[in-house]
Amino acid sequence: MFLLGALSDENSLQLREHLTQGCECCLERVKEAARTIYLLSLTVKPTSPGPKAKADLMRLIRGK
């Protein structure tokens, strides 16, 4: 819920402070949750971006 950004601001702030203190157990749960959210995020069917999107990106990269 925290990683989804779905917690209330107050609860989210409390958990963030707790994690920042380095609680190993909770950080392990966060890693596990990150894996779950990664999985959920990829339940959609892949879609190819248009060729122009890639060309524009590569032009920007090469110009940097």
């Binding site: 950004g5 779905a6 917690l7 601001d9 949750a33 990664y38 339940t43 959609v44 990106l57 990269i61």
Partner: protein, 246 residues
């Protein structure tokens, strides 16, 4: 010269047991444009599917996709140092970028009234039949835009990737069994899956989901937690034993 782009590297994709994506990330950190292009070719369709699911409009999704890869180009050295999975980093940055855009759109939707299906999205903008889950539900128009622009979780994720990012080898295992895990997602009770979709793809908080569904906050909260616990257990089963009955 630092920051100068290199092209044309012919290094093999797998070296010393390192995964292909992490190998490419190392090369991107070294300013290898071809490596970035190969990461894009490998991962852009999955990110684009996610971005279109969240944002609907192809132009918005492509713009967000560009932002993700520009950030990757800029932040690759730090991501490589964190030793986390670049695939997870890409997905979380894509989600963050899309959610920011969606919330900005909603904040602007205090402007002209959205169409009968809410949130200003048109049927023409919706990609059809892409989700492994149920089709997108038409939600009530929101009366109040979300106040969140940068949540506590995104601040945490950005500040300390080394402590939360799963290792590449864990993600390779998930990727290899993605189909089974998707089945587990589809086996969830419909109300729980719906609430989860609102959090995962629509950037709603638990209280906003309760308002959308017209359910008490406590019930929505309990349902979301139950669905995440269900998925966690199924994930353990799938990743721990091939014979697990899911």
């Amino acid at each position: 010269m630092p920051g100068e782009a290199k092209t044309g590297s012919s290094k093999p994709l797998v070296e010393n047991g390192k995964s292909k994506m992490e190998e490419l990330l190392g090369r991107v950190a070294d300013r290898d444009v071809e490596a970035l292009e190969r990461l894009y070719d490998q991962f852009a369709p999955r990110l684009m599917g996610l971005l279109m699911r969240i944002l609907c409009a192809r132009s918005d999704a492509e713009s967000a996709l560009q932002e993700v890869f520009l950030r990757l180009w800029k932040e690759a050295p730090g991501i490589a140092r964190s030793k986390g999975s670049v695939a997870v980093w890409l997905v979380f940055v894509a989600r963050h970028s899309a959610f920011q855009r969606l919330r900005t759109q909603r904040a602007g939707a205090a402007r002209p009234a959205p169409g009968p299906h809410g949130q200003g999205r048109t049927k023409e903008e919706k990609p059809g039949g892409r989700s492994a889950g149920p089709p997108r539900r038409e939600h009530k128009p929101r009366e109040r835009p979300s106040s969140k622009n940068d949540s506590q979780s995104s601040l945490f994720l950005a500040a300390s990737p080394e402590v939360w990012m799963p290792r590449p080898e864990d993600i390779e295992l998930v990727d290899a069994r993605l189909g089974l895990l998707q089945r587990a997602f589809n086996q969830m009770p419909k109300p729980q899956r719906l609430a989860l979709e609102l959090a995962v793809f629509e950037a709603y908080t638990e209280s906003e989901i309760a308002a959308q569904l017209g359910e008490p906050l406590g019930k929505v909260n309990a349902g979301l937690r139950a669905s995440l616990t269900f998925l966690r257990h199924r994930q353990h089963a799938v990743l721990g034993t091939w014979t697990a009955d899911i």
